[in-house]
Symmetry: C2
Subunit: 377 residues, 2 copies
């Protein structure tokens, strides 16, 4: 008797043979390779189309490179996540039919953009739709870093609460909200794009009074006077000032500093020992941008030696290879999340949908909802 597992395996194998056969017979279909199952809400956008042959890596793990190199041959489009390296090898394996690479991510460090440009392959990505999810995480990390979430949750987890000796100032941290005796609060942003704006918006009712920022070095036209005036007008009278500053001022004046800049060589280790030494003792640092922007050893030292109060980070240089003995994991004042900034159901669904829409539009030469100009990058 066949077990349920064997039956589904048999059905699966049969389906695979049928799919292979039908694609062989109906050669007019456009092949799209999808490197991860995008779930029951999104996959039908592809699978229900008669004019498209969908080849999906269905395993719940990183798409096998060999499988991909084999299956991409003749594809017109490919939907990937950040684990797929798109380089000359992959593009050559795809061949001249390939029109679109569509990544379900806002970053594109895994894509050799110049190789796409050479071959006239278009690139779709998923900016904007993750703005709110990452802004939420940024606010959460700012609160957690100030109010010692990692340290105090550890007290409960380790069963030490019953032994904890209460004192008027025990377990205290700096308050995000302004108060009568501390009526001003300056938030700083390294990188002042959409996610920073969404984060600032959320912080206004916490009583933030001043906003300073340094644009990331890649940013084309910054600072932007009109935009800044509009933002300030929107949040007045709570917000008293909003202005671009140099990085020295950003370090010295921020009560809460948000790193929301992209990665890459131009932002690598902008936050180093020199920067951290200039920060306020009760300030907190939040990194929901890219791990490479912060020198991890310098941040660990800053926390250990109490140059700053705490940190909340969703990204770490070298992730995901962050082991138990990583210097930041060992710091109780460092609140670390495993890069879940965009990990809400709503946002990942929107990202997957956008990735598919980009691919479908691109293969027929239409405007893609979110295309990155590979020739300009």
């Amino acid at each position: 008797m066949l077990s349920d597992g064997s039956i589904s395996q048999a059905v699966y194998q049969a389906q695979t043979r049928l799919t292979s056969l039908s694609s062989h017979l109906r050669t007019s279909k456009s092949k799209i390779v999808v490197c991860r199952d995008l779930g029951p809400d999104v996959m039908p956008l592809l699978t229900k189309r008669d004019d498209i042959e969908v080849v999906t890596w269905t395993e719940d793990c990183v798409c096998d490179r060999e499988w991909l190199l084999k299956n991409i041959s003749g594809a017109v489009g490919i939907v990937i996540v950040f684990s797929e390296l798109v380089n000359a090898e992959l593009l050559d394996a795809a061949g001249p039919n390939l029109k679109v690479v569509s990544t379900m991510s806002v970053g594109y460090e895994h894509i050799h953009v110049s190789e796409l440009a050479k071959r006239n392959v278009r690139l779709g990505y998923t900016p904007d739709v993750l703005t709110d999810a990452v802004a939420d995480i940024s606010v959460m990390l700012a609160l957690m870093a100030g109010r010692n979430a990692n340290e105090t949750m550890g007290i409960v987890r380790e069963g030490l609460w019953p032994k904890f000796i209460w004192a008027p100032f025990a377990l205290c941290g700096p308050q995000l909200s302004t108060s009568g005796i501390s009526p001003s609060r300056t938030v700083g942003f390294l990188g002042f794009g959409r996610i920073s704006h969404a984060t600032l918006a959320r912080l206004i009712p916490f009583g933030v009074t001043d906003c300073i920022y340094s644009s990331n070095p890649n940013s084309a036209a910054s600072p932007k006077k009109e935009r800044d005036e509009a933002l300030l007008k929107q949040y007045r009278p709570q917000l008293k000032s909003l202005r671009p500053v140099d990085r020295d001022t950003l370090a010295r004046e921020s009560d809460v500093l948000f790193i929301l800049a992209p990665g890459g060589p131009s932002t690598r280790h902008l936050i180093d020992e020199d920067f951290l030494r200039k920060m306020k003792k009760h300030s907190v640092l939040v990194n929901a941008g890219r791990g490479t922007v912060v020198d991890s050893d310098a941040l660990a030292k800053a926390l250990r030696e109490k140059w700053i109060w705490g940190a909340g980070i969703d990204v770490v240089e070298g992730e995901p290879n962050i082991w138990k003995d990583h210097p930041l994991v060992k710091e109780p004042r460092c609140n670390i999340l495993p890069h879940i900034g965009s990990a809400s159901f709503e946002t990942r669904l929107a990202m997957a949908t956008l990735a598919v829409e980009n691919c479908l539009a691109g293969i027929v030469g239409q405007n893609m909802p979110a295309e990155l100009d590979v020739k300009a990058s």
Copy 2:
């Protein structure tokens, strides 16, 4: 040769003898007993007064009962924290001079209010000044409960990040902010006082569209139509509705439910199995009020059996005796803090200052900045 420690001990002993002597000589001084060192910013408000004798429990632990019963004799005022039980025994030990009990807390479960009333002793407490600190923690816990903070931080702490298999919807949780595909969000409040209002204010830029509440059963005049209309007007057009509801509706409609009600018999286990079973599958529960309002076993069951998505709690029934094997500590979707809602430097400083001001005003028969009417309670 004396070590530094011995020197300070010798100096300390000498000072103690001198203080004792001088208080003996100048009997016209009013004695105030302070049950915890309130720190270098607040203690001078008492110690620099020539007309007051201050007797302070200086150890960094709960004030010894025997010490207190002995030293309170003849005091006109006493400044306490929540660990001091104020009952007939203590009041009798104080004697007829006692005019004021001033607690550095907003709750007064540790005080037998009727015994104060019998003796015409006034009661000072510290409401309002902790509103912002607790509202901050409430927002933090709502975000942490939705976005799986405890669970995902555990992945990093345990060194499992390198082995984590990324998938489009892995580690996802419900998003606090509204988004294009999920454009409405209902927040519910059990107890709708100042802290709830401050929490609601912070949530408006997250895109909250609807607010519902059930007043705590102790609340005198609720619902309050004019107040509600004013709040709604303030947050329009983002907020579409604000209304009082019964507890059944509160359970069924809240995406995020905040428990910000006081403790005591009338609110005990208002959140029980029946209530939790009615909640939405993707809803989260935040308790920054009192632990007794929530039946811990029922909440643990709700999390284990996924009736709701997650919980963020700063208070637990029976705290601080919450051990490692407590059913809630064992639930990964339960984010637990050791009652640090008011634990920010700014707020504790304000609370300690207010406690001293209450005491100083009360002993001379003046209006106290925050007095609880013991005859009405």
